[in-house]
Amino acid sequence: MNDKKLIVTGLVIFLIIVLFPFWYNRGRAVPPPEVKLTEQAKAAKECVLSKDYMRSEHMQLLDLWRESVVREADRIYTNPKGKQFVMSLSNTCLDCHSNKADFCDKCHNYASVRPYCWDCHIDNPKENS
């Protein structure tokens, strides 16, 4: 064991490199994304379900909608408050949330998720500004 110095130096360098993201970003917090709502979304006040639920579970809801519409031929969703929605990502969700860059992308980029919904579904179907 004559290489003790070499090994320890190597280990230290290794640790510095591996922990680079931690010490480089220390003390800095990336601000959480701030989503902008469209006028239409603001006026509606509430989404299909509560804001908290939509924020964390909208993908589950979309999955359920897709399954119902495509496979079961059921297209109408009645929320707990009795309001009815046509289950359509293109025509219901993206109609109200027609600002993909300021709404969807904000959180998706922050969380580093890349959903491929927009490969097929077209953003802003009615061309609201």
Binding site: E72, D74, R75, T78, P80, C120, I122
Partner: protein
């Protein structure tokens, strides 16, 4: 280590208590998370329904390609079907072909009335009662809808293996060899496009039926096409089949196509 009988019993009791904890926690967590009343899911009220949708095509009314074009246009326009000049990338939902190609193996093609030979025959997915594409699909991306017999595609699930294309005897399915978006002539923003690597075909306009509208080609045909329930004896489709001589494509294969041709 000394372990008394008392200690062992205590531990056992504690473990049993711990085991019962998760369900209690889960129940508590659930109540806080889920919305109070259960949401409801159902069909739309204006939706048109049938046991097996079928189409009757009155072919003598189609004199030339000109009569076919508006129908194809209507279909491809609303469904964002791309138009490629390159033949091998072609995507088709509804198109015209010649008599001898449409009815191979079904009818005598040796000597045919000249008028019939030049008549354009509209072809599309036959929405077979016994669809071979559905059996071939390894992911159940294509399936026969039990409610109304439409052979549908779930583009989300399609992995692009093209088994269905090999299985379909009518060539009704097309594969997106490239991203279809650059090849769109018009974009209907209300309807999704497809992506590269996905198979697509006619859907008998499910999205229009759900809104109580007839398929786009039927609407554009001005009575040359008739759409209705094959299993309803009083439907228009059955009325036409009863009163006219009709043929179907490749019936000898036993797929039971739901598109009937008056010749």
């Amino acid at each position: 280590m000394d372990t008394s009988r008392r200690r062992v019993l205590q531990l056992l009791g504690l473990s049993a208590a711990a085991l019962s904890a998760p369900p209690v926690f889960n129940a508590l967590a659930k109540e806080a998370h889920e919305p109070a009343a259960a949401p409801q899911i159902g069909p739309s009220k204006e939706a048109l329904t049938a046991k097996q949708w079928a189409m009757v095509i009155d072919t003598p009314k189609f004199k030339s390609e000109k009569d076919v074009e508006p129908l194809v246009e209507a279909c491809h326009k609303i469904h964002n079907v791309p138009h490629w000049d390159e033949k091998r990338w072609e995507i088709k939902w509804l198109w015209a072909t010649h008599y001898e190609h449409a009815f191979t193996g079904t009818v005598s093609r040796r000597f045919v009335a000249e008028e019939v030979q030049h008549r354009p025959f509209l072809v599309l997915c036959n929405h077979c009662e016994n669809p071979p594409c559905v059996r071939a699909c390894p992911t159940k991306a294509t399936f026969k809808r039990p409610e109304d017999g439409i052979v549908m595609m779930d583009f989300h699930r399609c992995i692009g293996c093209r088994f269905c294309m090999a299985a379909c005897p009518f060539g009704a399915r097309s594969f997106n060899y490239r991203d279809p978006r650059p090849a769109l002539k018009y974009t209907n923003k209300q309807f999704p496009t497809r992506m590269k690597g996905v198979v697509e075909k006619c859907s008998f306009c499910v999205e229009r039926l759900a809104e109580g509208k007839m398929p786009a080609c039927v609407e554009a045909s001005e009575g040359k096409l008739t759409f209705g329930d094959l299993f309803d004896e009083k439907s228009k489709v059955r009325e036409l089949i009863k009163t006219h001589y009709t043929i179907r494509r490749k019936v000898n294969l036993g797929t039971e196509p739901a598109v009937y041709y008056i010749v």
